[in-house]
């Protein structure tokens, strides 16, 4: 038994060829995102890109949970919202400077609710951005995965969770701002949130956070845990007979994807200036899954690419052809699912393989 734990002995398989293409592309994209984009795009468009990158962070988590782990989560909006509200509560209290936040005044709340009080502390609020989605995901994951609720059941449950979350938030107007959500922020850690310099800084922050989380996710996928995750995706019951508890593996992954969504939500709030139930319901959650499918769910890069491409497409078409957007979105979706289930990344891989084959022939 102890032999299993022994250190590696000798190299049995030839060392894998040093991979340089992936890192090279990553660096190139990072340079474009961090240097080129801020120079080329006007502030308004840069702000939009920052928004898409926030969505890309959520998409990254979906790629991890769904593409790698086979958990189709239709409720990522919930975690996005939890992170967003944590940040929004801090910003609101900070702006109010000891008074009640504006929406509480017109909702007839007289004393600051106990739930809100600690969020005045930025460290606490930032911690909650991670902790609350983490706890909720672990709790839900433990309950659901332990009982082997999976596949379509899991998808439907997460969707219902998103629906229930919206109802809960809307119903607690004095606590959450109701349908309006939290909006009208002024100060972001000492900077005017609307100022161009702040917005550029926020864009860079979002881009860097995305990059870091991407690297972390990439590392995770390549690790033994990543192999295990694939194994759980393809044969959960078989994994159980290898002595692993798939529920633990799934819960951890689900929690990671939830934390990513939470961080994305927290960044989204200062970038866009609002967090409201409309952002975390069934439809926005589904739209992100769509984006991941379009980009290519089996590759982390596909998830990120999909979120950015779909974000741009939505903005572009709603500016140019608002009536056609629903048709286009639906049609794009049907096309991708039927013709290219592996998304843009899958198509690119197929094209490259073909070019290579022709070259060698």
């Amino acid at each position: 038994m102890t032999a299993v734990l022994e250190k590696p002995t000798r190299q049995l398989t030839p060392k894998e060829p040093r991979q340089w293409k992936g890192p090279a592309v990553f660096v190139a994209v990072a340079i474009i995102a961090l240097v080129v984009m801020p120079l080329v795009l006007e502030p308004f468009r840069l702000g939009l890109l920052a928004k898409y990158l926030c969505y890309a962070i959520v998409a990254l988590g979906i790629g991890l949970a769904w593409g790698q782990g086979g958990m189709l989560t239709l409720g990522q909006g919930v975690f996005f919202g939890l992170g967003g509200y944590a940040m929004g509560m801090y910003l609101k209290l900070n702006d109010a400077g000891g008074d009640l936040p504006d929406f509480m005044v017109w909702s007839g709340v007289e004393d600051l609710p106990a739930l809100w009080a600690p969020f005045g502390n930025p460290v606490f609020a930032l911690a909650m951005v991670v902790v609350v989605p983490l706890v909720v995901a672990v709790l839900l994951g433990t309950l659901v995965f332990r009982q082997r609720v999976r596949g379509a059941y899991f998808a439907i449950l997460t969707q219902a969770l998103a629906a229930a979350m919206v109802i809960l938030l809307v119903g607690q107007q004095g606590l959450t701002g109701g349908t309006n959500g939290l909006t009208n922020f002024f100060d972001f850690f000492g900077n005017d949130v609307a100022a161009e310099s702040t917005q550029r800084g926020l864009y860079l922050t979002v881009a860097i956070v995305l990059g870091v989380l991407y690297l972390a996710a990439w590392q995770l996928v390549r690790s033994r845990f990543g192999r295990l995750l694939l194994a759980v995706r393809d044969g959960e019951d078989r994994v159980r007979f290898l002595g692993y508890n798939p529920a633990t593996v799934k819960t951890i992954t689900f929690a990671i994807s939830a934390v990513m969504a939470g961080i994305a939500g927290a960044l989204f709030v200062p970038v866009v200036g609002i967090i409201s139930p409309a952002l975390l319901g069934v439809v926005p959650s589904l739209e992100l899954v769509v984006a991941v499918a379009v980009g290519g769910r089996f590759a982390l890069a596909g998830a990120v690419l999909g979120a950015v491409v779909m974000g741009y497409a939505k903005t572009y078409f709603s500016e140019e052809l608002p009536d056609a957007w629903l048709y286009l979105q639906g049609a794009l979706f049907i096309l991708v699912m039927t013709l290219a289930p592996k998304g843009i990344v899958g198509v690119a891989t197929a094209l490259r393989a073909r070019v290579r084959k022709e070259a060698s022939a």
């Binding site: 009982q147 449950l157 979706f333 049907i334 699912m337």
Partner: protein, 289 residues
């Protein structure tokens, strides 16, 4: 207060009847074929618009005429969807979910372009106006419709050769195929019936709710919850789950409010799945996934 409390019992059953009608078709398409049809709501919508269109010919009793017509209309839409797209997706239930969501978006926009964005008016028959105690006639009509649909389906499943083939495919697709059942044909039939039931639900809903392009979106999540709680492809599971959720909803809303009632129902389903992860009734299978 006591009277109000007692009234909630039939009200809960009638809510359950609505849930059952909207979920019945899904228990087949979802249960037999593992297809999560997000466009099910839009088939309901198609049924409702069928009733709207038939008013021009049938006047106030359009609802009655519309029942068989809507069954065929929605059924054919389902058949088309199955033939064109879904049959390529068997064994990939999560992909069908996303695919059919795309279909549902397109269908909503089609409805908007055909009938306009505002709700349209479907007048209910004069003979459905009135009530016995807390139960309006139109609710009784829906209850009868739900019971009728269940009985019809039960008879079909258990008394007809087609229905037995359907059950065979539901229980073991491969075995059914090797024993000479044309599973493709059975799938088409199942999808036709499942979607057709959505059409019937749509007609019934014109009696109590709005008729517009987004009609389907109001019901789809609830319908799936009924199926999940009842167990895949389980007629009796769907019936019991719909009744239970209807009653729970009715009393939860009576004691709290509509928003909280929805949250309570969701929490109850999660709790229930802790005991019965596969829903009320399960098809046994030895296959290892």
């Amino acid at each position: 207060m006591v009277e109000g409390f007692l009234n909630q019992l039939p009200i809960g059953l009638s809510i359950g009847a609505v849930l059952l009608l909207i979920a019945l078709g899904l228990t087949f398409t979802f249960g037999q074929m593992g297809v999560i049809n997000m466009a099910h709501g839009e088939f309901i919508m198609a049924g409702a618009y069928t009733a709207f269109l038939l008013q021009d010919f049938a006047g106030r009793s359009a609802v009655l005429v519309a029942l068989p017509v809507a069954f065929v209309v929605a059924g054919l839409m389902g058949l088309l969807l199955e033939r064109l797209a879904i049959r390529h997706f068997y064994g990939r239930p999560l992909d069908t979910l996303l695919l059919t969501w795309g279909v549902s978006l397109v269908l909503q926009q089609v409805a908007r372009d055909l009938f306009g964005a505002p709700n349209v008016q479907v007048l209910s028959p004069t003979w459905l106006q009135g009530a016995i105690g807390p139960m309006p006639y139109n609710r009784l009509f829906i209850l009868a419709l739900a019971v009728g649909s269940v009985v019809a389906i039960w008879l079909y499943m258990n008394r007809s050769a087609q229905g037995r083939r359907m059950q065979a495919v539901m229980q073991n697709r491969q075995l059914a195929a090797t024993s000479g059942i044309n599973t493709g044909r059975v799938d088409q039939r199942t999808f036709f019936i499942g979607s057709g039931l959505a059409g019937i639900a749509g007609v019934a809903l014109t009696l109590i709710g709005p008729v517009g392009p987004t009609l389907g979106t109001y019901y789809i999540v609830d319908a799936f919850l009924v199926v999940v709680a009842g167990g895949l492809g389980q007629l009796r599971g769907a019936v019991i789950a719909a009744a239970a959720l209807g009653l729970l909803n009715s009393y939860a809303e009576f004691w709290t409010n509509a928003s909280l009632a929805k949250v309570i129902v969701f929490a109850a389903i999660i709790a229930f799945l802790q005991f019965r992860p596969q829903g009320l009734f399960v098809l046994r299978s030895r296959a290892l996934t």
